[in-house]
Symmetry: C2
Subunit: 223 residues, 2 copies
């Protein structure tokens, strides 16, 4: 892991890094921080590791919940070459996230043996769900904004707590397909949050809900 | 309104009352309390105004959120005669809840002009949804655990924020029927929370979620 930048702003410390050819970011509280639980963020299509919504979410998770947060540019996104030759992006994402998780857990900020959360909707689910299905370090995940399609088999292997976001009037994902993917998870605890509006209209209060979800599952000491 | 009892326990003050032939309860913080926002609780079938789950919920709303909370025995439940002659329970509930709301808003504890919330699932929705559809003082409501059936027309007249609970494996409510009722609400903000399990298996974290929902909509000053 090669660090390329280290800055702080309003209580949030941001380190940019490159691991192999994967550009990433990790956010932690500005000040003493050690052995924090980790949340990985998988951005959506056309976005990148420092898209405003992603950074705002990272800030909330760091400053409100006390997590360390990491994100990477997905293949073909952000600082990575646009031309994507790989025909199996999901397999590539599994491999890349695993490498990133290995490296990030070696940082002092991050609890090397602690629980890890994953948040990613839309493309963040398409690429993240197969990864989470194969990664025992992930203990809780938030997915959504995709349909059953090719993901149902991987979802059926997931048993950790899942929060699943569905937009009731999603112009990209048929309602029945989203409901079917929620149905496919094997998790004993899974909760579907459906809200009106299109693909990009997830209400802001779902950020708050996600904080509670990760707090409940990653910070066992809290009520 | 005739008061029949006034007790306090662990920070919660409970007054039991009778209004006409309707037995009810109101809970407020033990100590100085004035002009609080109000939440009405509609219990489920076979329960009553002091069922343990209802009192536990009232305690949470009072002590955590700072609300006043009121509940009544539904027709044929609790301290009311079992034999129920009325063929239109929903119409009766509208009239009873309106009388209760009029009376409770006159109490010093309750903000006479403030926003009012309604929580009730299962029979609490069957009887409460028609009431909420006709009552402009209700500004936010939590419903669920019932299907479309006779309620869709009333739901289509509701425009306030709604949180709607659905049990994914509800043995009493077909999944499609619950989804259809959620679909029927005219509310711009409505959020469906679906969880695995049967009719009685709503997870405890939904109480927490309901606190956030009512806090967001009834306590405008909070973030």
């Amino acid at each position: 892991m090669h660090l390329t930048s280290d800055t702080s702003s309003n209580g949030l410390r941001e380190r940019l890094f490159v691991l192999g050819d994967i550009p990433g970011a990790i956010w932690v509280p500005d000040g003493p921080a050690k052995d924090l639980p980790l949340v990985l963020l998988g951005h959506g299509g056309g976005q990148h590791k420092k898209s405003p919504g992603l950074v705002a979410r990272a800030r909330r998770y760091v400053t409100t919940c006390g997590f360390a947060v990491a994100a990477i540019d997905a293949p073909g996104h952000g600082d990575r070459p646009r031309a994507e030759q790989n025909s199996d992006l999901a397999a590539q994402a599994i491999s890349e996230w695993r490498d990133i998780l290995d490296a990030v857990q070696k940082l002092d900020w991050v609890d090397a043996d602690g629980p890890v959360g994953y948040w990613g909707v839309s493309m963040g689910t398409a690429l993240g769900l197969p990864f989470v299905a194969t990664e025992p370090r992930i203990k809780a995940a938030i997915f959504g904004l995709v349909g059953r399609q090719a993901l149902a088999d991987a979802a059926a292997r997931i048993t950790i707590p899942v929060e699943f976001l569905l937009q009731w009037d999603d112009e990209l994902v048929p309602r029945e397909s989203g409901l079917a993917l929620f149905d496919a998870f094997a998790s004993r605890e899974k909760t579907l949050h459906a809200n009106p509006g299109g693909h990009a209209d997830v209400p802001l209060f779902e950020v708050d809900s996600s904080e509670r979800f990760f707090t409940r599952h990653l910070l066992a000491a809290l009520p």
